[in-house]
Every structure is written in C-alpha cells, then in structure tokens.
C-alpha cells in the first residue's frame, strides 16, 4: 500500500525547512558578500603592489643614469678638461651604457659646448638651453629629468641632466650641465617580461602632465609616433592625488577593468596596471560558485533530513488515520499495527485502541439490534400480508354475498311480480277449459292439446319461479344429527333412477355423524344427482360415495358421472347463480349446492375431465360428539 503523506507531513516539512534554511540562507548570503569584498580588496592590493613595485624599478632605472652623469660630472678634472678629453670620457660612457643615445655639455649660460651621439654627424648643431626647464632645474638642484621625446619619432627617450661642479673653487661652483638623452626602451622590455602578452594583465608608464606613453608591456603600443593610452584611462589616472590606488573602471566600449596606479618617486610619471574585471575577480567568482555549491548540498541534505524527520513524526499518525478509516468502514479485523510510544501520539494511540474496542462492541450490539429489527419487520410484513389476504378474501366474500343478496332480492321481486300474471293466465285457461269442457259434443282435440300445453308451461314457469325464490329466500337453518351413510342410503332408495344408468354406490361403513339441515342438504344432493343423470341421457354410470376422510374431522359425499365433462373455461363459473349450459335451466342448481354447503360450514369441489366425466365432492365437518340420535330420512 502506497504511503500517502498528509498535510501534517507537509507542514512539518515546510516549518523544518524554514527554520533550518532561512538562517543558513542569510548567513550564506553575507558570507558570499564578505568573501567577495575581501577578495576584491586583496586582488586590488596585489595589483597596486605590482604597480608600486614597477614604479620603484622605473625610479631605479632613471636614477642609474642620473648617477652615471653625476659621477662623471663630479670628476675633479672634468670642468677643467679640454674638449678632446671630455669627448673621450663621454664616448666611453656611451660605450658602457647602450641606452644613452646622446651626451651634451652645456656652459653655465645654457649653450651647448659639446655634443656627441650614436647617430650624430661629425659636427652637429649646438643648441641653446638657456630657458629650458631641464637646464635651469639642473643648475638649481644639481640634477633634472627633462622633456620626453620620441627618438626618430618612435622610441621614447628622456633627457637627464646633472650639474658639473668645480670642486676646486671655494666654495664649489656649478660651471655647467652634463645632459644625456636616454632611451627608455629598457622599461618596455622589463614591462614585457613582467606582464607577458599571454597574460590578461597589461601595464604602462605614463607621463602625468603630458600623457606621454613612456613604456608599455605590449611594445606595439609604445613604438609609434602618437603612442598614448586611451583618453578615459588617462583622464582617471592623471588626476589622482594619492601616490597609489586603484579600482573598478568602466570603459567607453562597455568593458570593465580593474586598474591600479603608482607614482614614480621624484618624477611626474605614473605606472599603471590593468586587467579585465572578469579575470581579476575570477577567483572571487570561483569562490562564490564554491560557496553556492556547498549551500546547495546543505539545502539538499537539509531537505532529505526534514523529509525523514517529518515522515518519522507523522508515521504513527498516518497509521492511526488508516486504522480509523478502516474502523469508519466497519472493518474491525486486520487493523494496522498501532505502535504506542511514550509521548502524546502514544497517548492518542492508546485512546484510539480503547475507542476501537468500544466501537466494535457497540457496533456488534447495533448490528444485533438491526438484525432483530429486520426479523421483526419481516415478521410484521408477513403478518400484514396475511392479514391483507384475509381482509381481501373477506372483502371478496362480502362483495360476493352482497351481490348474491342483491340477486336474491331482485329474483324475489321479479318472481313475485311474475306470479300474479301467471295466476291470471292460469285462472283464464282454467275458465276456458271448463267452459269448453262444458260444451256438449266434445271439443276440438287440438284446442284441448293447446290448453294442456299452456297449463304445462305455466307449471314450468312456476317451477322456475319457485326455484329462484327458494334460492333467494333466507330461511333459518334447522340442523339435525344424522349418520351420513344411512341418510344417503335413504335418499338413494327413493330416487327414481332411469334404467340406462348404472349406480355405483359406495357408502362408508364408518357412517360418520354430521349435523345437517336435511331439507336443504337433500336438495343439494338431488341437484347433483339430477345434473349427473342429465349429462348421461343414453348410458353411463352414476357413482355415489359417502365417506369419513383421513383427517377424521370431515366427511364427504361424492357424486360422479361418466358424462362429457365440464369445459375448463367454464369450470370456474358453474357455481355462479344463473350460469347454465343447458338449453332450459335457471342456472341455480349448483349455486344452491354451494349456498347450502356454505351455510353448513362445508365446501363443494369439482373435478372434471373432459370426455371422461365429472366428480362433485361435498365436504362437511363431522359432528363433535357422538350422535345423540340415529339419523333418519328428511322427514324422520
């Protein structure tokens, strides 16, 4: 069965995650911020240190040549040497220091006295430096670094000057200036070595005032007539007041760089180092990624842990809920194992177990009660059904009786009303007969015959009326006790059987006693015998039986014939009054039989087989006590 985790599980999970992950998120966020900031500071500091380091190198480079000049100028005899010797000295210096391209000696008025250089002709032009800053500064301070120029329009050079001092004069007196044009290509070479082209960093040395590009890590940038750094960078670094510094800088083309600068001591030069931010901060980005990765793992494990904890907490509750759901469906068996721990959930489980026991008991009682109720309901339904059947039967009986009563009443009225005209006709025919009979000489024999026909028909009509009135009459029953077989014997003995019918008489020796109104019962038996004889006009057997039934509480009279039988479709109607299959008949014979049996608390049944015959059975209750007197005939 799959585990269905519910809302409680989700709530615990959410809260646990919230409690554990929210502080971690805040801490992680700050950690990343702090680490990023310090890393960036560190990187910037390193870049500044690089700039400062190279600034020192530049200073030393320039200082080296200044010292060479100063040492030369400080030679005791230099001021007093003749031009030829000075020339030799200077040539020797140029041989030693390849970067020195040209050397000049200026007199105190700033006029060039001697000029020698690697690429100068034999008699070069002598220049006047009287107002040049390099000359005045060297005269005043003892040395100076002057104007930057591109030798042959390409290679950066600087003029370096040192004062020539006459050591012998008291006090010492400046007698001129030794000036050299020094190639600065060496700086570019050194930068190229320190910041190789394969790296992402680049560096440059720039004159602060003019923006002259002195050196660059990429020599292609520097050896050209108009070599300059981009103006946006120059604008930033040439306006700095601090001796060194740096930071993020957006470029005009959208890139961002991390730049650092350092002033070169004693000179108005700046060393500038730059690299793209993405490379500069690569470490920071990597660190950030690592921290984030760690955070992701932490979150992952926290979720797992929370899941497990929430599952552990809610598991017993889930089991309880499952058990309760089964209880709700009425399953008291096979409940899931409810573990009871020593906490609130354990208490809940205990309560639940107690409740389920109680529920089981109560449900059992309820089911029992329900079954009892169902049994009772069924019993009641059966009672109601039986009672309804009884009522229906009683109602049918009542309707039948009312109908019969109505028929009887009508028959009585009709019969009575017909008797009057019948009496008048009878009187009249009697009068006619008497009158004609009184005529001497006899009457017409045909008139006589018709008079007789009328008389016969009147008798027949009267018979029918009598039958109807007898049927409808409410006569008081006068029962007397008779022995059935003996009584039947008596009836049969006086009945005029026709010779063509055989009589099969079986009268039980048990001779049961019955209480009957002999007049009516005789009428019933006679009606049955009359009917039987009527359906056997040519030949047949009349069977008459009187017997005590097996239950010993009822006795029966059976009258059977071997006539054509009763068609099945009319067998239900034969006991209805006025139903007849005969050409002439009131249809009251069998109705009388049934009425008589009803009045005696008995029953009449018929069994007929078309083509073989019909048997009528009259069943009567046997008299309770021994017969008071032996039964006789109807007139006994």
């Amino acid at each position: 069965m799959p585990v269905r985790r519910g809302k409680l599980f989700s709530k615990i999970l959410v809260w646990f995650l919230l409690v554990s992950l929210a502080p971690m998120g805040v801490v992680g966020y700050h950690l990343i911020g702090i680490s990023q900031m310090s890393l960036r500071k560190e990187i910037l500091a390193m870049q500044e240190a690089e700039a400062a380091g190279f600034a020192d190198t530049v200073y030393k480079y320039v200082t080296t040549f200044r010292q060479v000049l100063a040492e030369t100028a400080a030679i005791e005899e230099f001021a007093s040497m003749d031009a030829r010797t000075q020339q030799q000295y200077l040539n020797r210096i140029m041989q030693v220091h390849l970067a020195i391209l040209e050397l000049s000696v200026l007199n105190p008025q700033g006029i060039e006295q001697m000029r020698t250089g690697r690429f100068l002709g034999p008699s070069p032009e002598m220049r006047n430096f009287e107002t040049a800053p390099i000359f005045t500064e060297a005269m005043r301070r003892g040395y100076a670094v002057g104007k930057l120029e591109r030798f042959q329009g390409l290679y950066p050079t600087a003029a370096i000057a040192a004062a020539i001092v006459d050591q012998k004069a008291q006090p010492a007196k400046t007698v001129g200036v030794l000036m050299a044009r020094v190639s600065l290509n060496g700086l570019t070479s050194m930068l190229g070595m320190e910041f190789p082209a394969a790296g992402k960093s680049s560096a440059a040395v720039v004159d602060k005032r003019s923006g002259f590009l002195i050196a660059h890590s990429n020599m292609k940038e520097v050896f050209k007539p108009d070599a300059r750094l981009p103006e946006d960078i120059l604008k930033v670094i040439t306006t700095q007041t601090e001796s060194k510094g740096g930071g993020d800088m957006p470029l005009g083309d959208g890139r961002r760089i991390l730049g650092a600068y350092a002033d070169v001591r004693d000179l108005d030069w700046i060393v500038y180092v730059q690299q793209p931010v993405e490379y500069a901060y690569q470490t920071a980005v990597e660190m950030k990624a690592q921290i984030l990765w760690v955070l992701v793992w932490v979150v992952f494990f926290t979720v797992l842990l929370s899941w497990a904890v929430a599952g552990h907490i809610t598991q017993p509750i889930r089991v309880l809920r499952e058990a309760a759901a089964r209880l709700g469906r009425g399953q008291f068996e096979d409940l899931p194992e409810v573990t009871t721990t020593n906490d609130e959930i354990g208490d809940l489980a205990q309560t639940f177990l107690a409740m389920s026991e109680s529920l089981k008991e109560k449900t059992g009682e309820l089911i029992g009660a329900k079954q009892e109720l169902e049994r009772f309901t069924k019993f009641l339904e059966k009672r109601v059904e039986a009672r309804t059947r009884e009522l229906k039967a009683a109602q049918d009986e009542l309707i039948k009786k009312e109908r019969l009563a109505a028929i009887g009443q009508m028959a009585s009225v009709v019969g009575h009303e017909i008797r009057n005209p019948l009496a008048v006709i009878n009187n009249s025919i009697y009068f006619i007969k008497t009158k004609l009979g009184g005529v001497p000489g006899g009457t017409d024999p045909k008139i006589d015959k018709h008079v007789k026909i009328i008389e016969s028909e009147i008798r027949q009509a009267n018979g029918i009326i009598n039958e109807i009135l007898t049927y409808s009459r409410t006569r008081e029953l006068k029962p007397e006790r008779v022995l059935l077989s003996a009584w039947m014997e008596e009836i049969l003995s006086v009945y005029p059987f026709p010779p063509h019918v055989a009589l099969d008489k079986r009268l039980d020796a048990a001779n049961p006693a019955v209480d009957i109104d002999t007049t009516e019962m005789q009428q019933a038996v006679r009606n049955l015998i009359n009917n039987a004889l009527e359906v056997m006009p040519v030949k047949g057997t009349l069977s008459v039986q009187a017997r005590l039934n097996d239950d010993r509480r009822t006795a029966s009279i059976l009258v059977g014939d071997t006539g054509p039988g009763i068609p099945p479709d009319v067998v239900d109607k034969i006991f209805s009054p006025f139903f007849t299959t005969k050409a002439r008949g009131t249809g009251l014979g069998l109705a009388v039989v049934r009425k008589v049996m009803d009045r005696h608390g008995g029953a009449v049944e018929v069994q007929s087989e078309p083509g073989r015959g019909t048997v009528f059975k009259l069943t009567l209750p046997v008299a309770a006590a021994a017969p008071a007197a032996p039964g006789g005939g109807p007139n006994a």
Partner: protein
Amino acid sequence: MAKLLIIDDDAHLRESLAEVLELEGFECAQAGAAHAGIEAAKKLDPDVVIMDIQLPDSSGFQICQTLRKRSRDTILIMMTGRFLSSEEKKQGFELGADEYITKPFDLAELSARIKQLLSRK
C-alpha cells in the same frame, strides 16, 4: 249459494278468479282495495273472503283481523305471491286466517277446499 268476496288490487286476477269460481257455482263479489273490501264485506256478509296479503291501502292481515272480529264464521283465505315465513303464517292464523294459497292457484283444488270448508260450517 255461497257468497264469496275477492279482494285484490289486480283487476284481471280478481275477475278471472271470480269468473272461474262462478263456474264452480259460487256467487262472487270483488273489491280492489282493503277499505272497499271491508265495506263490501259489511254490506254483503260473505261466507268466504279471499284476500291478497299485499294491498295498496292496507295489509290483508288487517282486513283479516277486522273481519274476524265481526264474524267468527266467515272463512278467510289469504292469497300471496311470495314465500311466507313460518312466523308470518303463524301471525296470520292468530289473526283469524283459515287458509293460505300461493299464486298461481290450482283452481280445482281451491274449489274443493272452499267447498270442504263451507261444509264444516
């Protein structure tokens, strides 16, 4: 000659009966209702009164009672078209009726019965 009074509301019946009984040698008077019958009986003083039990203005038993009070000798015969219960017959006899006859009548028998009753007088 014996005098008969026939009381019946059916004119055909009383006429036919009267004429048949005249053939038998009786002198017959008729009345169509109880009241008229009693009046006729008072006037004629008949030997025999044959009356229907059911009459429009009264019952035959009523006439029977009245006439019996008047004369012990008059033969009173009740006519009926229906079955009478034993109780009714008994009541009639107590009121003075001598005989009951049921419609339609066997006239020869009736004639003989009347003659027999008259001979006892």
